[in-house]
């Protein structure tokens, strides 16, 4: 079995305990929104096999459901059909379910214990949203958290529009093959290979972690996790997985969607400049930087990380403020590449026009050209 979180007498998994892990990350996008097959990202992540240990791999893909782009695409894992039935019943009560189908998979010998994997294209029922005074996005967020925490044997692996997360226990290239990602076409792909240190791995705990159309792949260990989590809990985010990726995703969601901070500002919250640097800034910049640290100090992600945030509108890659984890970026034409290692880029783009190592805390932002705001939902 794929390992339910709620099973008794099992080894602890994400959500029970904090599980540190090392990882490989990669992200590729076409800034003009041109679609390309998942083959490239599989190729890129597979070159960094040494950075994962077969206990988790996954992908996020954007632009893959153009036919259902107005619907939230709910990717789900179920432990059993009974679990699935319960959730489906619940979905029907609260959403318009346009379509529900098994996500096609292939048999791959090394991929074992896969759960029941489904996707639903849904819309929140307008009257219910109005009833609880929530935007559809807000409603979605609450519902996802509710399902994850309250339904036995069920887990939402992604819930954004025109995007999806494909993840599981195994090396990422095997997971890619398992989900047949070569047959999907997207304009933005991120991938993750995982190296957890003390767990057999759980499908739900694999990366990317997603919320609405945010997806986060992450390499690192956030030492400030306890602080970040309590801060998020104050804003009613339930960090049920206890993973850094989850916390990072929620922080992005809170800063960008709820607090409507500009993307660069949100990045500055996660990896703020040191006070010494702030003191040297021009007055206006300094004022903002001071205020951000004053108010969002608990949002600082402290400790080593490199993170790739995927969203409908583009991709952001960012390092911790003293660059304790690797991150390389490259450009070639409309294509933007970010990865843990340069090799993972060169593998899919032999001669990039520019390759660079982003400085600590300096985000690499890839924005879809026709988009001017990062916050897609208002």
């Amino acid at each position: 079995m794929w390992g339910s979180r709620k099973r008794l007498n099992r080894k602890p998994i994400e959500g029970d305990v904090r599980i540190p892990s090392g990882c490989a990350v990669s992200g590729i996008m076409n800034k003009k929104g041109k679609l390309f097959s998942g083959e490239t990202i599989i190729q890129s992540i597979s070159i960094m096999r040494d950075r994962s240990n077969g206990l988790g791999g996954g992908f996020a893909a954007y632009g893959i459901y153009p036919d259902y782009k107005d619907f939230y695409a709910l990717h789900m894992f179920f432990e059993s059909e009974e679990n699935q039935r319960e959730v489906e019943l619940y979905l029907k009560e609260n959403f318009l379910v346009e379509k529900g189908e098994r996500i096609p998979t292939r048999k791959v010998p090394v991929i074992l214990d896969s759960p029941i994997i489904y996707r639903y294209f849904i819309k929140p029922r307008a009257e219910i949203c109005e009833d609880v005074c929530m935007t559809p996005d807000e409603f979605m967020v609450r519902q996802v958290m509710f399902i994850n925490s309250s339904f036995e044997g069920a887990y939402v692996s992604s819930s954004g529009k025109n995007m999806g997360a494909f993840k599981g226990v195994g090396y990422p290239e095997d997971i890619g093959e398992f989900y047949d990602l070569e047959s999907y076409k997207g304009y933005l792909w991120t991938a993750h290979g995982r190296f957890p240190t003390n767990t057999p791995g759980w499908w739900g705990g694999a990366h990317p972690f997603t919320l609405l159309d945010w997806s986060v792949v992450h390499n690192g260990e956030i030492s400030s996790y306890g602080t970040n989590r309590r801060y998020l809990e104050e804003f009613e985010y339930e960090c049920s997985l206890q993973t850094d990726t989850e916390a990072a995703t929620y922080l992005f969601d809170m800063l960008l969607r709820r607090h409507r901070l500009p993307l660069e500002t949100a990045c500055q919250v996660l990896a703020p400049p040191f006070w010494e640097e702030i003191e040297r800034m021009p007055e206006k910049e300094k004022e903002t930087a001071r205020a951000l640290r004053m108010v969002y100090g608990k949002g600082l992600l402290n400790g080593p990380f490199s993170i790739i945030l995927g969203s409908t509108n583009g991709m952001v890659a960012i390092n911790d403020r003293i660059k304790l984890r690797p991150l390389v970026a490259a450009e070639q034409g409309d294509m933007l590449y970010v990865a843990s290692e340069e090799a993972a880029i060169i593998e899919v783009c032999a001669c990039p026009s520019k390759v660079w190592t982003p400085r600590a805390g300096q985000p690499v932002i890839g924005r879809l050209e026709e988009v001017d705001s990062w916050v897609s939902v208002c």
Binding site: S21, E221, S223, R230, E234, P262, T265, V295, K298, G303
Partner: protein, 501 residues
Amino acid sequence: MGFSMLAPEYRVDRDKDRCIDCKVCVTQCPYDVHYFDEEEEKVFAREENCVNCHRCVVLCPTRALIIRKYPLEFRENSAWKDIDIRQLQKQAETGGILLSGMGNPKPLPVFWDKILLNASQVTNPSIDPLREPMELKTFLGRKPERLEIGCDGSLKTKISPQLELSAPVMFSAMSFGSISLNACRVLAEAAEQLGIYYNTGEGGLHQSLFKFADHTVVQVASGRFGVNSEYLKIGAGIEIKIGQGAKPGIGGHLPGEKVREEVAATRMIPLGTDAISPAPHHDIYSIEDLRQLIFALKEASDYEKPVSVKIAAVHNVAAIASGIARAGADIITIDGFRGGTGAAPTRIRDNVGIPIEFAISAVDNRLKEEGIRNQVSVVAAGSIRNSADIVKAVALGADAVYIGTAALLAMGCHLCRKCYMGKCSWGIATQQPHLVKRLNPEIGRERLVNLITGWKHEIKEILGGMGINAIDSLRGNRHMLRGVDLSSRELDILGIKAAGE
């Protein structure tokens, strides 16, 4: 005094091979212990007077003195310990309330010592504070829920006034009157040099300390001593004192003999009169009254100062703290049951209140649950003894701590706990001019600055070990804490796991 059943508490061991009868002990003992017998040409001791303040021991140039516990023992009795019998005898002789100085000395558990800290190994690197920046800067004051930033990156939200600290530590409220002007000066100068704050207590602000006002939190307590418009406007912050950890529910009493000229002028009371702070504020009988006072003070200081409300850690501290936050306070200060005092009824000090460790956890939880934790600052006080205690307090959820006893110890206090006698041999808790001058503020300031500087280094080392380079990332980071020798109930209240989990 006449006949007393009380045996001396201490004996003075004088090594005759070392003693040169130089009489330093005689000149230095304010309790009249040592005396020089002209006939014998030797120094002797009246041991019954000794309070074990160590002044003579430290100044004896030949190290001829040792003060020991008086070896007389009562018949063993685990119910009636020596201290119980002595206290009873004292009351039988005087018929009064037992008085004590400094914090609760009883062998109640010190939870700091049952909490252990984490450090990084392999999966994330520890950070070397000698090579990498390590930030302790702390802001106390009300924070908006969110910031509004324009597309050009400009700040649209106005931030309320804040106290900016170079490290999450301040000097507790200790009034001029309860301590000497020199001691106040040490606190003020050290706070300025360190980039932190000290607190006037309910003693007003002496003219000579106005120049340190930018590093001063001015207190408004139930007696309103020293409070005027200038006082409220000159400080960096204002603190309303509701209660004190050493004596929750009890007022204060500065005897008239300590109300000398400068104290009287600073407190704005007649010379030589007792300064009595009522147990409650007589204009605060409920939370809405507190709100009125908070806003009265804000109004009086043009909304330019953060307002703190200080309470003792009592059973219902979490709910009270929440009420204080909602009443408009920018900072909530919680003083644990081991907090110090110049004078408190012994029974109150030793039996009322709860440990600060639990109080921090409970308050932090409650404010978080209500979604207002990030909007107010929480300052913890009461027996913070070292840098590790600070780290633990911050990890439990405090924004900063106040230290009182530790600051006094750095100045020279030897914790003899006789502050209420007004004869502090170290020149701290006294108003007698010949004793006050024993504290050279220059030396006191250096020692206090040294202490905090050392603590800062230690905190940085600890943070670095945790893989954290800003104190912000320690706030409420209870993952960095593990408990030993704690019941699961206590672990739950502290919100930490047991060691090994």
